[in-house]
């Protein structure tokens, strides 16, 4: 029997509790009879829910805690059951034996490398059954106790509706906290790993150094790779691709398409084109990556050779930037669209009534009035572009060059993170740890961009409401 079966049993218990509570609630109905007099405070169904929640919630909490505890107890049990001579000396040995025992028990492994493991299997099985049974008994006891306690509290004037409402609110709060807490967890883990990195490489060298060569020697006698962690070339590559080239594409095209869609397009055409443009935002970035790497990049390289531009590479900043710009167009367009639609019609009418043409009205009234919203949209787009990974992994290069030649190869922060962390890696070398430091920088920059953008957009929204 596993914990999931116990979970189902608890739910069954909850169902029984619900019907019992509701039946009791029905008795309070003056129409039914028994308790004549006042109208009950809550409808029977709320009494039912109250009892059911009182049964389920504590039992579930217990089960959750138990499911965290059980593996640890089991592991400790396995090791303790072994004769002192066979007991593992190191953490690695310990993990290996425990994995073996578990594999044998579940039937995944046919035979064990360590004979001691085989002997521990029956012990492990027995301990597991004992613990699971314990979990079942404890959960059912707590569930019954909760239901019984709740059941005895039911009275005609008991505020079951208010209580259930409060519990539901509590569950909703818990659900929304999960996202926030996860973000905090991510930040903490980034911070923690980054601190380990900064113990070996000074933050100043990392933030201002211009040499990026993360290969470090694993053995003392290995030649060549000394490791240099100056991230400026990566920051430059990221800005060059994400904030300069991509925006040079996305801002004009996004803005112009938004202007055409809001001001000129016939309603029917708009209702077709706008969703179409938004579908563009839903294309998986890896598909854009193919397109950038296999179509755009070779074409640009051939063009550069034909024109005689030096330093042209088949993994160019321009290819990645152009395709990323196309990907960002819907974001800019949709934000600009929203903010121009938010400019009151009266403003447009006022300008048109002065004898301004539609394009004069757009240029002199609409765009200036919508500018804060547009700027906010562009900032959000930049923050997305510099965090974008797939396109640059596929189309930008790995060489950390500091060049303003768009046909040359550059690398970005996200590309390097992927390169540093894929494959077999040891997680205590500065090489892998530097990925966390890069991630932290990226996180901080996009966070700032998002905060500024949202503030700008919000401030502007207030102006017209």
């Amino acid at each position: 029997m596993s914990l999931s079966v116990i979970f189902l049993i608890i739910l069954g218990l909850g169902a029984v509790a619900f019907f019992a509570g509701r039946a009791r609630g029905n008795l309070f109905d003056p129409a039914v009879g028994a308790a004549a007099g006042e109208r009950p405070h809550s409808r029977p169904v709320y009494h039912g829910w109250y009892v059911a929640l009182a049964a389920i919630l504590p039992a579930l909490l217990l089960l959750t805690a138990w499911s965290f505890m059980q593996p640890r107890l089991l592991d400790a049990g396995i090791v303790a059951s072994m004769p002192a001579a066979d007991q593992p000396k190191t953490q690695i040995d310990r993990d290996a034996i425990i994995d073996e025992v578990k594999g044998l028990a579940s039937g995944e492994l046919q035979d064990a490398f360590n004979p001691a493991s085989k002997a521990a299997v029956p012990v492990y099985e027995a301990a597991r059954q004992r613990l699971t049974l314990g979990a079942l008994v404890a959960a059912v006891m707590i569930g019954l106790a909760g239901a019984g306690w709740a059941y005895t509290r039911l009275r005609p004037d008991f505020r079951a509706r208010t209580r259930v409402e409060r519990i539901v609110m509590g569950i909703l709060i818990a659900a929304s906290l999960i996202a926030v807490l996860t973000t905090f967890g991510i930040v903490l883990s980034l911070l923690f790993e980054s601190l380990r990195f900064f113990k070996t490489v000074s933050p100043i060298e990392f933030l201002f150094g211009t040499q990026w060569s993360p290969q470090t020697a694993i053995r003392a006698d290995q030649a060549g790779s000394s490791g240099a962690f100056g991230a400026v070339p990566l920051f430059w590559g990221t800005i060059f691709i994400g904030a300069i080239i991509a925006m040079a594409v996305a801002i004009p095209f996004g803005l112009m398409s938004a202007i055409w869609l809001t001001q000129y397009a016939p309603a029917k055409l708009r209702s077709v084109l706008k969703p179409l443009l938004e579908i563009l935002a839903g294309v998986p970035t890896v598909v854009y990556g193919f397109f950038a790497a296999l179509t755009v990049a070779p074409a640009l390289r051939d063009f550069a050779f034909a024109v005689g531009i030096p330093g042209a590479s088949s993994e160019s900043a321009l290819a990645a930037g152009l395709v990323m710009g196309v990907m960002i167009i819907p974001f800019v367009s949709s934000m600009a669209d929203d903010s121009m639609a938010a400019v009151p019609q009266a403003m447009r009418d006022g300008s048109l009534a002065m004898g301004a043409t539609p394009s004069e009205t757009i240029k002199r009234v609409l765009v200036p009035a919508a500018l804060p919203g547009i700027v906010g949209g562009v900032l959000l787009a930049v923050s997305r572009a510099i965090g974008e990974t797939m396109i640059v992994v596929m189309a930008a290069g790995l060489a950390a060059n500091m060049t303003a030649n768009p046909f040359a190869t550059v690398t970005t922060v996200t590309t390097q993170i992927v390169t540093l962390l894929t494959g077999d890696q040891e997680f205590d070398s500065p090489k892998t740890l530097s990925a966390f430091a890069l991630g932290l920088v990226l996180f901080v920059v996009t966070l700032i961009l998002n905060i500024v953008a949202l503030r700008v957009v919000k401030k502007y929204r207030e102006a017209y409401e």
Binding site: A346, M347, D349, G350, S351, A353, M354, G355, A356
Partner: protein, 271 residues
């Protein structure tokens, strides 16, 4: 032709017999929004000497008609206008008429003050800039000052020309919008309930201003406020359910209307 339309037409000649120079003429104007007819066969004359007021309950078509006079209904895709509207004898709905030039000649002030989110100076300079009316900075300064003076706003605004137009009070904003309309030197000014968002003192100032502007510009004003129509206009048209029920001298309409429906509306029986 409906009975009301006949009535309206029988009254119109009285306007033509006055010794005035007619600026705009509308004949048998009907407006449709999609399949729904919002205005039925309205005819009217507008002159410089007489301020014309349109009164009537909400949804009666008076604003719709006003917006026909400078083709602001063009911005509504489903709107269709029939009949004939002439400005100085030129058909404004003909293919030769440039709507941009038309709107420069027939200005408009809206119900809610709608200054642009620019400085006071730039608000007034907006039209002249678009139409290239000022060659030098000094010309523009003159136009701005003149327009603000005529709108009775110069004394209040001269020390804060660079402040945002949206920072002014509602009444000042509306006078700024009037100054903005005047700045392109129009021949006709259309006002769509210009005081409905203003307090009584600001309203009184606008009404005074309308009286000052009479004679220089042909003015048409839509209003819900019958006292206002009585105070500022010389001619009044009463609209009801998309038809012009009665049109005549303001004094006659308010003291001795021929139509029972006009009388009912003016005495507050409905509307």
């Amino acid at each position: 032709m409906t009975e009301m339309a006949t009535n309206a037409q029988t009254v119109t000649p009285s306007a033509a017999t006055d010794a005035v120079t007619t600026k705009m003429t509308a004949r048998d104007v009907s407006v449709f929004y999609g399949a729904k007819q919002a205005l039925k066969s309205v005819s009217i004359d507008v002159s410089r000497e007489n301020v014309v007021a349109f009164i009537g309950p909400s949804g009666c078509g008076k604003s719709t008609f006003l917006r026909c006079l400078n083709r602001m209904n063009d911005t509504v895709a489903s709107a269709r206008v029939e009949g004939e509207i002439k400005l100085d004898g030129e058909d404004i709905y003909s293919a030769q008429m440039d709507v941009v030039q038309l709107r420069a000649r027939v200005g408009m002030v809206f119900q809610k003050p709608n200054p642009f989110p620019k400085s006071i100076y730039e608000n007034v300079a907006y039209g002249p800039r678009i139409h290239g009316l000022a060659k030098t900075r000094a010309d523009m300064d003159n136009i701005v000052e003149g327009s603000l003076r005529r709108a009775g706003l110069w004394e209040e605004a001269k020390d804060r020309l660079q402040e945002s137009g949206t920072a002014m009070s509602g009444g000042q904003q509306q006078r700024l919008c009037i100054a903005r309309a005047i700045a392109v030197d129009p021949e006709v000014i259309l006002m769509d309930e210009p005081c409905s968002a203003l307090d009584p003192i600001a309203t009184a100032k606008i009404e005074e201003l309308i009286d000052d502007l009479r004679g220089k510009y042909a003015i048409v004003i839509v209003t819900h406020n019958m006292q206002q129509a009585a105070r500022v206009s010389q001619k009044t048209a009463f609209f009801h359910l998309g038809t012009m029920v009665e049109y005549g001298d303001t004094s006659t309409i308010f003291t001795n209307p021929t139509e029972p429906r006009t009388k009912d509306y003016i005495t507050g029986r409905y509307g």
